[in-house]
């Protein structure tokens, strides 16, 4: 168990490279098997994980560049554990649901590489290593979108790549500056997150560093007004690309916020809570409205992702255990739900080669199972209690309520607007008579698609009813982090803020 994290990171890489040897007709099953083994490895990790231990577990530490303080440093805690599992799980599901014949070998190898980078991002404790995986994740995604997407795929792929790259490159400067500050304070070079967490920075420095890191994460999330790459990427990407993009890649941004912004720059974070929350609220409402106006099924879900990410950000910037835990849980639930929705759209796209809502109507007649699963996911997406979507949304909002009730109220309109666009989408494509004869004889979901979707449906319900196994470890780590933040905060206001938002009583 000592090296399980390395194993988890590098297994897909090795399997991907070896995948070149596997012949085209067997590669799909190969990919699924690898993803399954990888998923099992993360499950083993979960089993071995001790939910009540401080700090990081399964830590590995090897010095790589000593002059520079760069280490191969891995570890996992409650915050990252489930994101790792989500990554491997969704990769597996996406591969099961894969329905592309063209150059499928390259595709599967890219997906496996992508899996490595995703897992790597969540498991890295060394910031340089984190950055390495963070940037590298762009390359396979570029290829996936650009090579297997629809008409404007190249534009979309380049936009995705450049936008996120441009954002993160500034983070690199921030990372380096942070490393410099650590060196100046501690006298040794270190880029390790646990080390950095102990570093107390003056307020002004925090502000600048916060900005550098925040921009990268904001673009990745993507926050308004940096979101415009996402609709293109989703709209053009193949199903598997959208699934992974929505379910995991976007979470890298919010994960970064939890992992870096909060514990490293507590004062700056608190200083920026309200402005960021305002942006998040704009994002929630604005994206929901745009989602309503869309004509393409996939774009609706893409914009709904933006809207939901707004609530996740709100939860994170609540700086209390409820909000942060909720937002992490919401990351997972959104990963599952939006992944499933994209897959569902993929199913219909495979049949009709269009995603235009106006082309559909009455699908519930010809494809009842499809409609049912879609309905379940839709309800999870609008946050119906007892589905996975509710828990995170509820906790995020309840957390932020303590910070500002009015913003929470405004963000809460997201649940109304969410219902509006989702239901109208559902109505327009599934209800009514069959208006387009092409939809008359569509086949309902086949075995492969069901195999991919049923586990998601089960998870949506099971985790909606019993989220405790996830919430508990997350909550434990989050609480530790908030204690740390309070200890580290240099300004009195920040300290008071943290105490205030974490205590019951008072406040409208």
């Amino acid at each position: 168990m000592d090296y399980i994290l390395s194993l988890i990171i590098f297994f897909p890489l090795v399997a991907g490279i070896l995948g070149f040897l596997v012949s085209q007709n067997s590669i799909r099953i190969y990919g699924i098997s690898v993803a399954f083994i990888e998923f099992m490895l993360t499950i083993i990790l979960w089993i071995g994980f001790n939910g009540n231990t401080d700090g990081f577990q399964f830590v590995e530490h090897v010095t790589v560049i000593s002059h520079f303080g760069m280490n191969y440093h891995l570890g996992v805690d409650g915050i990252s554990l489930f994101l790792v599992i989500l990554s491997t799980f969704m990769t597996m599901i996406a591969l099961i649901g894969l329905n592309i014949k063209k150059d499928v070998k390259n595709l599967i190898i890219s997906v496996l590489l992508l899996e490595m980078t995703m897992v790597g991002v969540f498991l890295s404790l060394d910031v340089i290593l984190f950055y390495l995986f963070w940037e590298f994740s762009l390359i396979p995604m570029l290829y996936i979108i650009g090579a297997w997407g629809s008409d404007k795929r190249i534009y979309a792929a380049i936009k995705f790549f450049l936008y996120t790259f441009a954002g993160s490159i500034l983070m690199l400067v921030g990372i380096l500056y942070m490393g410099y500050l650590y060196h100046a304070t501690a006298g040794v070079w270190s880029f390790s997150i646990p080390d950095w967490q102990l570093l107390i920075l003056p307020f002004n420095t925090q502000l600048w560093l916060f900005g550098a890191f925040f921009l990268a994460f904001a673009i990745k999330v993507p926050m308004f007004p940096f979101h415009t790459w996402l609709p293109y990427a989703h709209g053009q990407a193949p199903t598997i690309g959208s699934v992974i993009l929505a379910s995991v890649l976007l979470k890298m941004g919010t994960y970064g916020m939890v992992r870096f912004l909060l514990p490293l720059f507590p004062d700056a974070t608190i200083y920026f809570v309200i402005p960021i929350a305002i942006i998040a609220v704009i994002m929630v409402i604005y994206a929901a409205m745009i989602a309503y106006a869309q004509e393409d099924m996939k774009q609706v879900i893409a914009y709904s992702s933006i809207s939901h990410m707004g609530i996740i950000i709100l939860g994170i910037f609540a700086i209390n255990a409820e909000g942060v835990t909720g937002s992490i849980f919401f990351m997972i639930s959104h990963g599952i739900v939006s992944g499933a929705l994209f897959m569902l759209v993929g199913c219909i796209y495979d049949r009709r080669h269009t995603k235009k809502i106006s082309e559909f109507g009455g699908l519930a007649i010809s494809m009842p199972t499809f409609a049912t699963i879609y309905g379940v996911m839709l309800m999870a997406s609008v946050g119906l209690p007892l589905t996975i979507g509710f828990v995170g949304e509820f906790l995020s909002l309840i957390g932020f309520y303590k910070v500002s009730w009015i913003l929470t109220l405004l963000a809460g309109t997201g649940i109304i607007l969410g219902a509006i666009y989702m239901l109208s989408l559902y109505k327009r494509s599934f209800f009514g008579e069959i208006t387009n004869e092409k939809n008359r004889n569509l086949k309902d979901l086949n075995g492969r698609e069901l195999a991919a979707l049923i586990p998601l449906v089960v998870l949506v319900l099971v985790l909606g009813i019993y989220p405790k196994p996830l919430l508990e470890p997350i909550d434990f780590s989050v609480k530790k982090m908030i204690v740390l933040m309070e200890k580290k905060a240099v300004t009195q206001e920040a300290k008071e803020f943290i105490v205030k938002v974490n205590s019951i009583e008072g406040g409208l």
């Binding site: 409820e322 219902a419 209800f431």
Partner: protein, 618 residues
């Protein structure tokens, strides 16, 4: 005892899931019977629990943890106390009837199995709603019934209007749910728990301002579910669903959830009489407002729906004024006679081949005598004529209003009572008596199957006798709920009763008198007031013009103009600027050696100029 609780709670779920297994297969009578049986089992368990609770043992169980994060810890906890058990009994009783009725009603529908699955799921959600021991559990049920209502209104999803109505209902409810969530947040951050008992125990310590806000937010939640103005439009549209659904959800149970919430949170509302007064005023307003729309409507089900709306207004008056047990009592009696009315209407619809325009009916009494009698009973009960159930409960509400000194409210309710009587009998008269207009359309009415009629008899019975349990009901519920003190003289009460009965009777008589002679002339249809009422005060239109359309326009604008032309274009513009500056800079690369050499000299000269004139500050 816990097992009864679990049986009562989960029997409908089991039924629903089993029916769901057959959802895509063709009609199977088994699902109907099976689910009905399970609901009946649930009903029996509820009765047993009622017995236990009557013996003063409140059942409270914690099933398992649900959400815990930070200080928040919520579990699936259920409580069976005086209030919830009443609700349970009412819900399961009506549900049982509706289930059995539906076996007949839906027999020709291809999605028979699916229907029962949804219907039982609804019962399950409703049970969670009433049995939960914390606000979030209530919220689960709250949203659950919303979902089932969405499914059931839109049950005939091929009809665009049905799915539109379903969405409208869901979205309107969501608006209210947000208010409720805000209330829940507020409770949590002030008390630290959402458990009823803890909340009610510590609510008194809170600042009255905060309590008021909690009350307001929770009431916003209730407004949506109970379709109070201005969130009322969905209820009439919800009549697109199958009639048993209207009977169960949109008359007897779900719409009363709002009243239940106010009653349940009575301990909060007693602290804030101002908010209570507001609730009562709104209720009184809706009572008249909805009744007035019912006066002219020609749609059989919509009339009943407006009537429901109006009756909900009555309940809110009671609840708002602190007479919780009365509100609950009216809720219960209303459930009986209103679902009876709806189910009767369902029979009529079937007989009329799903025709809903009452002007096209008439003279059905002969063909469908049992139904006519049942609906007659229900209408009399609704009108509040002694000795039927409606009399007791509705009269009490008027009494409360008078007692409270809110004479305006009383007057409104008084008028409402008259209107209620009138439209009820307008409906009866137009449907069952008068000319057989339907013959013009070639419709041959037929009575429903006997077992359907038999299924309705328990409701009819209860609609007649329920009122006599008033005292025991009072005794029972006030063990938990705050008592309401009447300060009126006995004589005043008697006078009030007479006045109310008089207006109800005169309403009935007027309707009978008028419609037996062929009704009003066509001219009134040109009256402005008639049009206003027929168009529901133009409120749906107003929503359409002021909210739905602008929202759609704004959304498109945001997408096409803001998102594409500003946000996205500005990003692209950065890229384009860089590229075009690249093209510009490229001109420097003319490839001509002379100009290349000149560039070098230019470089030197610029640097020399800088060398002479530029002295940086050190």
């Amino acid at each position: 005892m816990e097992q009864y609780l679990y049986i009562a709670l989960f029997a409908p779920l089991v039924g629903s899931l089993v029916a769901a297994l057959f959802a895509q297969s063709s009609k199977n009578i088994f699902t109907g019977i099976f689910t009905s049986t399970l609901i009946f089992i649930s009903f029996v368990s509820s009765i047993i629990l009622l017995y236990y609770v009557n013996a003063n043992t409140i059942v409270n169980v914690e099933m398992m943890d649900w959400i815990s994060a930070g200080n928040l810890s919520i579990s699936f906890g259920f409580v069976v106390d005086q209030v919830s058990v009443i609700m349970m009994v009412t819900v399961t009783l009506v549900s049982t009837v509706v289930h059995v009725y539906s076996i007949g009603y839906m027999e020709h529908d291809e999605s028979f199995n699916r229907f029962f699955s949804y219907l039982s799921a609804f019962v399950f959600s409703m049970m969670i709603l009433v049995m939960s021991d914390n606000f979030l559990g209530l919220f689960i049920g709250w949203e659950g019934v919303g979902l089932c209502s969405w499914l059931l209104i839109g049950f005939w999803y091929k009809k665009t209007s049905a799915s539109w109505a379903a969405n409208e209902a869901f979205i309107m409810n969501r608006i209210a749910d947000l208010g409720m969530l805000m209330g829940i947040f507020l409770i949590y951050w002030n008390i630290g728990s959402l458990q009823y008992d803890i909340v009610f125990a510590s609510i008194v310590n809170l600042d009255i301002k905060i309590v008021s806000w909690i009350g307001i937010f929770l009431f916003i939640g209730a407004m949506g579910k109970s379709a109070q103005f201005p969130l009322h439009t969905w209820l009439a549209d919800a009549m697109e669903g199958p009639t048993p659904v209207s009977a169960l959800i949109h008359a007897a149970t779900m719409v009363t959830a709002g009243v239940y919430l106010i009653v349940r949170a009575g301990e909060i509302y007693t602290l804030i009489p101002n908010v209570g007064m507001f609730i009562a005023s709104l209720g009184a307003f809706v009572a008249v407002f909805a009744a007035s729309m019912a006066l002219v409507n020609r749609d059989l089900k919509r009339i009943i729906a407006y009537s429901t709306l109006s009756q909900l207004g009555y309940m809110f008056v009671a609840a708002g004024l602190g007479a919780y047990w009365i509100a609950l009592f009216h809720l219960m009696t209303h459930a009986f006679f209103k679902s009876l009315l709806f189910l009767g209407a369902g029979n009529v619809m079937h007989a009329m081949n799903n025709e809903l325009d009452i002007k096209k009916m008439g003279g059905l009494y002969k063909a469908m005598r049992p139904t006519a009698i049942l609906m007659g009973i229900a209408s009399v009960a609704l009108a509040g004529i002694y000795p039927l159930a409606g009399f007791f409960s509705k009269d009490k509400i008027l009494e409360v209003a008078f007692n409270d000194g809110s004479y305006i409210l009383w007057a409104a309710l008084f008028v409402g009572a008259g209107l209620t009587a009138f439209y009820s009998f307008r409906l009866i008269m137009l449907v069952f008596f008068g000319d057989k207009v339907h013959e013009k359309f070639g419709i041959v009415p037929h009575e429903a199957k006997p077992f359907v009629i038999y299924a309705l008899t328990p409701l009819a019975l209860l609609a007649i006798v329920a009122g006599f349990f008033e005292h025991s009901f009072y005794e029972f519920t006030t063990q938990l709920l705050a008592d309401y003190k009447f300060t009126l003289d006995h004589s005043v009460v008697i006078n009030l009763i007479f006045a109310t009965s008089a207006i109800a009777l005169s309403g009935i008589i007027f309707a009978v008198y008028k419609y037996i002679r062929g009704g009003f002339s066509e001219k009134i249809e040109n009256w402005r007031i008639y049009k206003l009422l027929l168009n529901q005060y133009y409120i749906p239109k107003l929503y359409e013009v002021c909210i739905i359309k602008p929202f759609a326009t704004l959304s498109r604008f945001a997408w096409l103009n803001i998102d594409n032309k500003i946000v996205d274009a500005s990003v692209d513009m950065i890229a384009k600027t860089i590229c075009s500056s690249g093209e510009k800079a490229r001109e420097m690369q003319s490839g001509n050696l002379s100009s290349m050499l000149r560039w070098m000299v230019v470089g030197i000269i610029v640097l020399l100029v800088l060398a002479i004139f530029y002295r940086p500050m050190v």
